[in-house]
């Protein structure tokens, strides 16, 4: 994580604020900053979304490709995450500087999406054991304002919601090779069901308390955070810890309980926003990066 410099006095101020339950920007411990989401921002991707959470700016593009399924999972498609940390976000990402953080985020997403009870990969199967869809999810971090995990996972979910997979009209088996015929009409496609896709919720430990949606300054003050992946059905699919600090077992259990309720409301808010955008129909204006 790109660390920023803070003086001891500033850290103390933040720490006391968290203890008091009144953070530097007026939020309480469990409040999120307002977010903004827009889907279908990249015209040449199968699905895309951009999410802004205060100063954190994430762009996600989804590309579909035909691939052969894993031999041990013949009825499932594939999904691959790649995170690119742009040097525009912070100079520390220049060269290979952002690689470590990128791998950490993509690995955490891969684990969160691994469970068979989350995002349904069987829908991506075309011919069992022979052909399946592979989703390449490319995540671009354009600006870093703290809370990357949550923002990235929400953007990924929005992009998957927007993804359109072309329909397969027919297939002919010619010896060992499969020949697929795809629909020519770009509007003739199927959508993915993202209702079970998980969202990541970061609970950042500052002092003896935990906060959600930490700013970059607050992240500098924290000793460690727990990231929980939760689906809309409040199913926890993965839990991992970042940072160096340790957690008491009882605190960890409390954190998980709190995280579960927050995860539910985050999922609900994203779903409502995506549904609302859907209702605007095809004629919706693309705002993108203007204004």
């Amino acid at each position: 994580m790109a660390e920023i410099l803070l003086s001891e006095a500033e850290k103390t101020f933040i720490l006391h604020g968290v203890e008091e339950g009144f953070r530097c920007d007026g939020r309480m411990r469990l409040d999120y900053r307002p977010m903004e989401v827009e889907t279908d921002v990249v015209s040449h991707a199968s699905g895309s979304a951009r999410l802004r959470l205060a100063n954190t700016d994430i762009l996600v593009g989804v590309k579909t490709e035909i691939d052969t399924p894993y031999p041990e999972r013949p009825r499932e498609g594939k999904i691959e995450f790649f995170v690119d940390c742009s040097a525009n976000a912070t100079p520390a990402f220049e060269g290979r500087g952002g690689e470590e953080l990128g791998t950490e985020i993509s690995n955490s997403l891969a684990t969160a999406y691994q469970s068979s009870q989350t995002f349904d990969l069987t829908a991506l199967c075309i011919l069992p054991g022979q052909q399946c869809w592979k989703l390449y999810i490319d995540i671009l971090i354009l600006e870093c304002g703290g809370n990357l995990f949550d923002a990235v996972s929400l953007a990924v979910k929005a992009a998957l919601h927007n993804t359109r997979v072309p329909k397969v009209k027919g297939a002919c088996l010619d010896g060992g090779t499969v020949d697929l015929q795809l629909s020519d009409d770009p509007y003739d496609c199927c959508r993915l069901d993202v209702s079970d896709a998980p969202c990541l919720v970061t609970l950042c430990k500052i002092g003896d308390h935990c906060v959600v949606d930490p700013t970059a300054e607050e992240e500098t003050c924290s000793s460690g955070s727990v990231v929980i992946a939760i689906t809309e059905k409040s199913l926890v699919t993965s839990v991992f810890k970042t940072g160096v600090g340790s957690f008491h077992p009882q605190t960890l259990i409390d954190i998980l309980k709190v995280g579960q309720t927050i995860g539910l409301s985050v999922n609900k808010a994203l779903r409502a926003a995506l549904l609302e955008e859907e209702q605007q129909g095809r004629k919706k204006e693309c705002f993108g990066f203007l204004k």
């Binding site: 803070l6 903004e36 808010a269």
Partner: protein, 297 residues
Amino acid sequence: MTQNVHIRLASQRIDNTIVGTSEVPRLYTPGEIITCRSGFMRGHGTYMEEDALTASVAGVVEQVNKLISVRPIKNRYNGEIGDVVVGRITEVQQKRWKVDTNSRLDSVLLLSSVNLPGGELRRRGTEDEQMMRKYLQEGDLISAEVQKIYDDGSLSLYTRSLKYGKLCQGVLVKVFPSLVKRRKTHFHNLPCGASMILGNNGFIWICPTVSEDEENGLGGFTENLLEVVPRTDREVIARLRNCILALANCKMMLCDTSILYAFEESQKYEVLELLRPEPMLDVCVLTQQRLYMQEDE
């Protein structure tokens, strides 16, 4: 415990430009031709391309006789002697500190340009050099004044006055340097119960007001980390922070009056609500109106 999660759509984005009574100036974009006529001199922010004077930055054109330059809307801080700045120590070197002041190059704070703790006046020896990290270490915030500008554009700062020095508990807000109005004084003890340093470099420091007798003239090297800022002060500081960011978001000039007006107009909202775009715009519009009313009087 409440939990607020708001996710909005890009189509709900609101236009936060406040149209004042004065005319909106013509903005040039990089690569746009300013003039094709010859006889003009090429100033900052412009370049010649095939006999046409072209803008290299986005901003407004300024002309002094034959010299044409483009003043950028968004830029780094260009220091001027006598400016009050807020900066962060990035490096401790021999006899000097490097300070991040939002300019292109890090500024320099020489050991000889600080007041020693206790206000002692003497030559700085090697012992003082070894103690430098005790006075100011990496990450510390200071307020200072620009003493000199070097040939390469980097600044030399000094804190040899009791009003400058190390900053204690509080919040730093970063805005564009061009938004901070140049005033006679940049230190303000606001009536709402907080102090504010409006750095010319766009760094604004908000902290709880310290009473005069508590400051015992140590040159600002005291740091009370055990003291807890009470909740009421915290609310004022957070509200000020959000108001300043709202004003900066609407590209309004920042000075003590505009910030105080925004603070008063924002009272109808919770501090938390000021993070959302609609209340932010509302506060800015009301502030703008009050500023106009004041001008008319």
